[in-house]
Symmetry: C2
Subunit: 215 residues, 2 copies
DNA sequence: CTGTGTAATGGACAATCGTCCATTAAGCAA
DNA sequence: TTGCTTAATGGACGATTGTCCATTACACAG
């Protein structure tokens, strides 16, 4: 019937699962979550229509699995970059900032997925869970560092300050992501990092010296 | 055209146009932009199916008109609140912060619409235009105030600083909106305002004294 | 080889999407 | 009233949505 069809039924369930997740994330990144339909995903993964129901039971579960995978991607890269730095509190905070603004983590693909999944989280509790987990881990990373930076051992007052500075730093980062999403080509990672450092140097003087290095 | 004559009920093109826009924004706020279909909008506005095509020509144009209306809502309320304050630079900045975090402007309805339209702006240039216009006006408001606050008349250096502080302030506000959207019930407007003020007081010492006055 | 179980296929299916138009209803001029 | 204009209706239409399943293809045990 067919002479040279290289695409016969390749049997590899685990790889196909991963292929579907990747296709889903790529689709959300490129055409948005509204256009990420079963047909679009299947076409991208070059698999058959029934695969999604077979492996995930429905579109919702596939989206949730994709959110989990995306969260993993984030922390794998974050941990990789953090492993390269020393572990003083100020260094850790700066390293997190740099990583969160690095091209490997902050790019057009990731902001589009981030935005799409954030919206979907309101109606899919499973996705909300993964978003929340991601946020909490980042927050405790930064919060611990500010605790150590402000007072050793931390006092009630220093902890209160650390908490507020942590929330402010996270808000700054999230705001920068929004900025990047709305104007990807006008955005400057260096400017963003400099602004955040300026603010941190303001609230905690002397710990984030920036100006020394020539640019 | 005329001042009175609002007796008619079934026939009122201008009112129906407005009704459709309101229904669209309400739908985006409550069920998300994906579920905001022609049927959903019509059902909400209690009008007939053909009205959208009649008055707007299509769903895309209705969304764009809704984005314009939403942008108006924002600035009408912002201007109203700003009119109540004195016009010293520091007071202006604080007033903008307070307004942007006030229940009239920052609420579950507005963040949901804001998020939904931001995502749609990638595929509908008309919507992107209104988002951009809104952002630019807010930015110049804050930037002008920082310019005046830092140096009178502004110097090249003070303008550079004002620009970065402006971008940082906007990022903080946008981050707070994201925070509010993801955890509406855990969010505290007072804490958010205090954090931003703390950061501003850090980068520009002495201009944003917080705890002293309550009025 | 044949038999058995599972991976994979791709179309059937009802529901819903957005667009569009033939028809009806309402206001105004005569 | 009669005629004319336009707002408004609501269903037809083809395309597409997500779900599901009867069928087929494959790997391996025997």
């Amino acid at each position: 019937m067919d002479g040279g069809a290289e695409h016969t039924h390749s049997r590899d369930p685990k790889r196909h699962r991963q292929l579907l997740i990747k296709a889903t994330l790529d689709s959300v990144a490129e055409v948005g979550i509204a256009e990420t339909t079963i047909s679009a995903i299947i076409k991208r993964a070059r698999l058959s229509r029934g695969m999604i129901h077979l492996h995930f039971g429905g579109k919702g579960s596939l989206l949730a699995a994709s959110a989990a995978s995306f969260s993993d991607e984030y922390y794998v890269e974050m941990d990789r970059q953090l492993a390269l730095t020393s572990n003083s509190p100020a260094e850790t905070i700066l390293a997190v900032l740099r990583a969160d603004l690095s091209p490997e983590i902050l790019n057009e693909r990731s902001v589009a997925i981030w935005h799409g999944l954030r919206g979907e989280a309101r109606y899919n509790p499973e996705i909300a869970g993964y978003s929340d987990t991601r946020d909490k881990r980042l927050r405790s990373m930064i919060n611990d560092a500010f605790d150590a930076l402000l007072s050793e051992p931390p006092t009630v007052d220093s902890k209160a300050i650390a908490n507020e500075v942590t929330l402010g730093t996270l808000a700054l980062l999230e705001g920068m992501w929004v900025d990047y999403m709305t104007h990807p080509n006008a955005f400057s990672r260096e400017t963003a990092a400099r602004i955040i450092t300026r603010f941190l140097n303001g609230v905690i003087p002397g710990s984030f010296n920036v100006e020394t290095t020539a640019s």
